[in-house]
């Protein structure tokens, strides 16, 4: 059987439940800002298209883009917290998923950078490109195309990490993307993004002092609620799709309970949104049910995030235990080896396993078993690069013996602080040896090098 991956041996800085709580909490903070950025961008894009026919909407799109400028940066920086926690809690699954999809995973950095730069270009060129609407909209569309793809990378990783039993069949990002659950989750996320942004629109456009010439703010508020209601309603299709495509490995009663609670709290929010669309338009502010809607949807998000975590916990429980057992067994064996103890066999030897080839079989000039100190030191420290009668990495001993004939001190000085005589050879590194060893090895080199020269006449000359 293959050895199991092992968790890291250093202890966690916080208890597992505490880290889990932080993970769920930080993740919600992060994802809300991501939702608003992605959903807001899509809504702004929609309004910019609408502005081609109804120019008043141009100002609305611009106003929404001002929000995104702030939320996109907060989304990134708030993502660091959950990343910290997931790195610690799920070291093996998370890193394994990252590595299996590595090339695309690291693309997150240049892609998000490019999307943000495009968003700035779009924002700061609004007046300059007023006569080139098509180009201006294209810039935003390009940024949004990237921002629609980024969640797929994250979801692919977060999904892949849940199923260690599938890891061996995954060769790159697209294999992992095609696992059953990824695309439904992406749909679920996109709907949530637009829904949250619709609510934000209802609030943003009904703030005191907000006005756009040619547009009634009450109408905008209504549009915000309509967007939120429609996308939230569609979650009743997307949600079950996510659940049905989840491998059954992580499903349990607690998870279903959390899901049901999430749905229960979403229902009144939907009803209140419906009422707000219908509400008399004269009232100022986002509507008297706005904060109730936010609170009940907030609870929905909390329960859904909890459900998601419960699934992860269940799907990975046995694997995490396996990684911990492997870590402990490895540490125990390692300690035993450090103490010089007898190591139990790891498993049956494979047929045809080769024993180590004896050191003496080196073909680059055989040297007899060490009988003196110089020879022992030479074998340990020098022989990897020098042999008696031919160039290996460095020059043959013959050449050394010729240069330093009768001058072992010269060899000793060179070994401690080598210079560089031949540019066609790699430079020799200093070898720190005690004086006795140096003296012995220098004498040995002169002896062996000299006798090799004597044996081979005329002396070989390197081209």
């Amino acid at each position: 059987m293959d050895p199991s991956p092992k968790d890291l041996p250093l202890p966690l800085p916080l208890s597992e439940p505490a880290l889990t709580g932080l993970l769920v909490l930080f993740f919600i903070l992060h994802i809300v800002f991501v939702n608003v950025t992605v959903g807001g961008g899509l809504i702004a894009l929609g309004y910019q298209f609408r502005a081609l026919r109804e120019p008043a909407y141009d100002q609305l799109a611009r106003s929404i883009c001002r929000i995104i400028t702030v939320t996109k940066s907060l989304a990134v920086v708030l993502g660091v917290g959950p990343l910290l926690c997931i790195n610690l809690l799920y070291t093996v699954p998370f890193y394994s998923a990252n590595l299996l999809t590595g090339a695309v995973w690291i693309l997150i950095i240049p892609l998000v950078t490019a999307a943000f730069l495009l968003l700035y270009l779009h924002k700061f060129s609004w007046d300059r490109l007023a006569q080139h609407r098509g180009l201006h909209i294209t810039i935003l569309a390009a940024a949004m195309a990237i921002l629609l793809f980024i969640p797929l990378i994250f979801l692919t990783n977060i999904n892949l990490m849940l199923f260690p039993e599938k890891w061996r069949d995954i060769h790159g990002f697209f294999d992992a993307l095609m696992l059953a659950n990824v695309l439904p989750r992406w749909l679920h996320f996109m709907l949530a993004s637009v829904s949250a942004s619709g609510l934000l629109l209802a609030w943003w456009t009904s703030r005191p002092g907000f006005s756009i010439p040619g547009l009634a703010t009450t109408d905008l508020r209504r549009q915000g609620y309509a967007i939120a209601l429609a996308t939230s309603g569609l979650q009743f299709i997307a949600g079950p799709l996510v659940l049905m495509t989840l491998p059954s490995v992580g499903l349990n009663l607690r998870l279903h309970l959390a899901l049901i609670l999430g749905i229960v709290f979403a229902l009144p929010a939907l009803y209140w949104m419906w009422r707000e669309i219908d509400a008399p338009s004269a009232l100022p502010g986002p509507g008297r049910r706005f904060w109730w809607i936010v609170a009940s949807l907030g609870l929905t998000v909390l329960f859904m995030a909890t459900a998601r975590h419960l699934y992860r916990d269940e799907a990975l429980a046995l694997h995490q235990a396996r990684f911990a057992i492997a870590r402990d067994a490895y540490a125990e064996r390692s300690a035993l080896a450090r103490a010089g103890g007898e190591l139990p066999p790891l498993g049956p030897a494979e047929p045809g396993a080769v024993p180590p080839i004896s050191q003496a079989s080196s073909s680059a000039g055989a040297i007899a078993a060490p009988t003196d100190r110089g020879e022992a030191v030479f074998k340990l420290k020098c022989r990897a690069c020098h042999v008696p009668s031919k160039r290996l990495v460095g020059p043959p001993l013959q050449e050394v013996a010729r240069i330093y004939a009768g001058n072992p001190e010269g060899i000793a000085a060179w070994v401690l602080k080598p210079g560089r005589k031949r540019t066609e050879y790699p430079p020799m590194a200093p070898v720190k040896l005690p004086p006795d060893d140096l003296k012995a090895v220098a004498e040995y080199v002169l002896r062996v090098g000299g006798s090799a020269t004597a044996a081979a006449a005329p002396p070989p000359v390197r081209p």
């Binding site: 050895p3 940066s73 910290l84 394994s96 180590p356 080839i357 073909s363 990897a384």
Partner: protein, 451 residues
């Protein structure tokens, strides 16, 4: 050993981290840590003079910093995490466990920094008149937070070079308060400020009318700013170098240049000194004759400071070799404490993703390649950067190469190349690795495909 292989066959794994991290540090130092104080001082001066054009210029300066730091700056910061997790998950995973609270604190500071940078730039035109003083205070707060994020991260960088008493105590603070921390901070802070002066020079030339008072005033100010902080950076660097332990300092020649050119590393040193001289000269010229500063000179000075900092990062990262965390984790991702076991069991037997468990007569080359992937590929490629074919050619001349000689060399590699970790596996694996490396030069076993 516990993770699937991710390998960049051409650029080399470490290049990915290097590119992302150096880009990050350049933006962070030149456009945030050093630059925000400069912008705030300019804003304050303009407010004191009642100079609307000066205020607008300060805002345009900040606009550049705003765009760069919230895009490339922020994303490369996250990118360091993502890339280190791909290249050396054992190292970043261990660091996270040791420094969780440091990173957690840094995260809170980082959130504040981003919120402040958004607030500072986006309220520039609203907080005017009586609120200008508050806006300037906002700027100083931002500058402080910017510096704190750097100050926390530098502690971890220092730890990776000199873990100090952590090796015995394994605590957060024993790791944070490591011997090279304060010297490195004392170097980076004034260097960032000096770099920001060079950025200021370039932006002044870009954003102001030629021969205008505003240009001369700003160019002279930025030149003076650079001149003031550069000597402190030099002093900080000397202090830092004095605090680097001797066993790491012996890597300096190779760290500055390459192994092949180690003997000529003084050339690099003189070049870096020369670059510093250029920066001083340009900054002095900016003070004495601001009208003589054009975009070319300003950019030369800026590029020179970037090269200095980039080279410092390379050198510092190289000095800690063969370690990722000295005394604990080697750069090859194996922990020192596990060597006695691994050199008996072999690394293949413990490698979750290896296709082979032990070396057999039939799988020598596959085993050798796997050993390479596990023990060497963090720093080496086959044909790309730091590629083995080129190295073998330099060492042994043109093929054929002798498998036994290579295997013998690997056994003592750490004796002669201080920046290389000892080979972690057992003798059979070392011989399989030697066989595979020798096979890289053989027409019969090209790329290790044939048995």
């Amino acid at each position: 050993m516990d993770f699937p292989l991710f390998h960049l066959a051409y650029f080399g794994d470490r290049t990915l981290i290097a590119v992302i991290a150096i880009l990050h540090v350049l933006i962070n130092h030149a456009f945030a840590v050093g630059f925000i104080p400069l912008v705030v001082v300019l804003e304050r001066q303009a407010a004191a003079r009642g100079d609307a054009a000066g205020d607008a210029l300060a805002k345009r300066f900040m606009g550049v910093a705003f765009v760069l730091t919230t895009t490339i700056g922020a994303l490369t910061g996250v990118g360091i995490w993502l890339s280190t997790a791909l290249i050396n998950p054992e190292a970043i995973g261990s660091l996270l466990r040791v420094f969780f609270w440091a990173w957690f604190t840094e995260w809170l500071v980082f959130i504040s920094e981003v919120a402040l940078i958004l607030a500072y730039y986006l309220t520039w035109d609203q907080w005017t008149g009586p609120r200008k003083a508050a806006h300037i205070r906002l700027g100083w707060t931002l500058a402080a937070f910017s510096w704190i994020t750097m100050a926390i991260i530098v502690a971890i960088l220092g730890f990776m070079l000199t873990p100090g008493s952590w090796a015995s105590e394994r605590g957060l603070f024993s790791g944070l308060l490591n011997p090279t921390y304060l010297p490195q901070l004392a170097f980076r802070t004034p260097l960032a400020l000096a770099m920001a002066g060079c950025v200021g020079l370039a932006l002044s030339v870009l954003f102001t009318e030629r021969d205008s008072d505003l240009r001369h005033r700003t160019v002279r100010f930025c030149g003076l700013w650079t001149l003031v902080f550069l000597p402190f950076a030099a002093a900080g660097l000397v202090w830092w170098w004095a605090s680097v332990p001797a066993d790491l300092a012996q890597n300096l020649a190779t760290a500055l240049a390459t192994q092949q050119a180690a003997a000529q590393s003084y050339v690099v040193l003189w070049t870096l000194l020369g670059l510093a001289g250029i920066v001083v000269a340009v900054a002095a010229l900016a003070v004495i004759a601001p009208r003589r500063i054009g975009l070319t000179l300003a950019v030369i000075a800026l590029v020179a400071t970037c090269l200095e900092l980039g080279w410092f990062e390379r050198t510092r990262e190289f000095l800690r070799k063969p370690w990722s965390v000295p005394g604990y984790l080697y750069a090859n991702r194996f922990r020192a404490e596990d060597y006695p076991m691994l050199q008996r069991d072999g690394i293949l037997a413990h490698a979750a993703w290896s296709p082979v468990r032990q070396v057999t007569a039939g799988n020598r080359l596959v085993a050798g390649r796997t050993v390479f992937d596990l023990a060497c590929a963090t720093c080496h490629t086959v044909d790309g950067l730091n590629g083995m074919r080129a190295i073998l050619r330099t060492m042994y001349g043109p093929p054929p190469w002798d498998a036994d000689a290579i295997a013998a060399y690997i056994a003592t590699i750490h004796d002669s190349r201080f920046y290389m970790p000892p080979f972690p596996g057992n003798d059979t694996e070392r011989e399989a690795l030697g066989a595979w490396l020798a096979a890289l030069g053989s027409p019969l076993t090209v790329a290790g495909k044939a048995p």
